[in-house]
Point group: C2
Chain length 140, copies 2
DNA sequence: GTATCTGCAAAACATTTGCAATTCT
DNA sequence: AGAATTGCAAATGTTTTGCAGATAC
């Protein structure tokens, strides 16, 4: 089974119809683990899929988000990034080259792998969910 | 010494000329620890400072960022938020009411205070700085 | 009186929306 | 044919920029 077919199969399992564009977008993310922006996806795929539009890339990543195929990475202030690795892990963005590295966590939740040699300037830790008051509100 | 004057003094110490608008913006952030967006700052202060413009609020928060008076909080996908508390701490955003709560860290770096009762849906952990290769590059 | 600061209007982007054309089954 | 998908064009909303007038020292 080639890469295209296995990616299409993965989308089917996630409840997404594997159109050509969708499979190519996810395939790109699985092969280049570079946490791409919509623009990066469009620029990379557009030469090979000349009719591709940015709207379709937006539609696709939003559908992927909704279905839990990718996670949103807000590390960038200007543009959103997307990650097909949906396991819990931290991200490091280099101020100079802009690259985004993955950092794995150890069982205690302390940073474990890949942090050696990095010069940390800023740390951001976000949690999202429901606060106590909002959990008490009846669902409509 | 009243609140306005001590805030002005604080700005001077940080190397910022304490114009009326700047002092009022920082004063608002110190008194309402609500991690405001530019729009929240503008809406709150505009009635009392009728000539205030959004451009000035943007200028002000960007100057504050540059001088280390506030930190940028990217927890919101649509708008940036700003925090006059520049100590290291985590943030929690409620999906329903949109409020942002502060979470203090204990000495081991594990979450400590305020997390009880929250229903966590998503965790984002970002670090920024210089990667190994970029540290090796000579400064121009 | 000269620097700086403010604020209006316009520009610059990232993202979304409306809708018509295309594609798939 | 019918339903879903794609993609163009226009709209939306946040943030930045250019510049002229106001303010401060």
């Amino acid at each position: 089974m080639n890469s295209f077919e296995s990616t299409a199969q993965y989308l089917k399992e996630k409840g997404i119809k594997p159109s050509y564009q969708r499979v190519r977008v996810l395939d790109y993310m699985l092969q280049n683990k570079n946490h791409p922006t919509v623009d990066m996806l469009y620029s990379a795929l557009s030469p090979e899929i000349p009719t591709l539009s940015k709207t379709t890339v937006y539609n696709t990543v939003n559908l992927f988000l909704e279905k839990g195929v990718v996670q949103l990475i807000g590390i960038d202030e200007q543009e959103m990034r997307y990650d097909a690795d949906i396991t819990t892990h931290a991200h490091f963005k280099c101020d100079r080259c802009g690259r985004i590295l993955d950092l794995r966590l150890n069982s205690e939740g302390a940073i474990f792998q890949g942090i050696e040699g990095l010069k940390i300037r800023e740390i951001q830790f976000y949690l999202k969910g429901l606060c106590q008051e909002c959990q008490a509100v009846k669902k409509v």
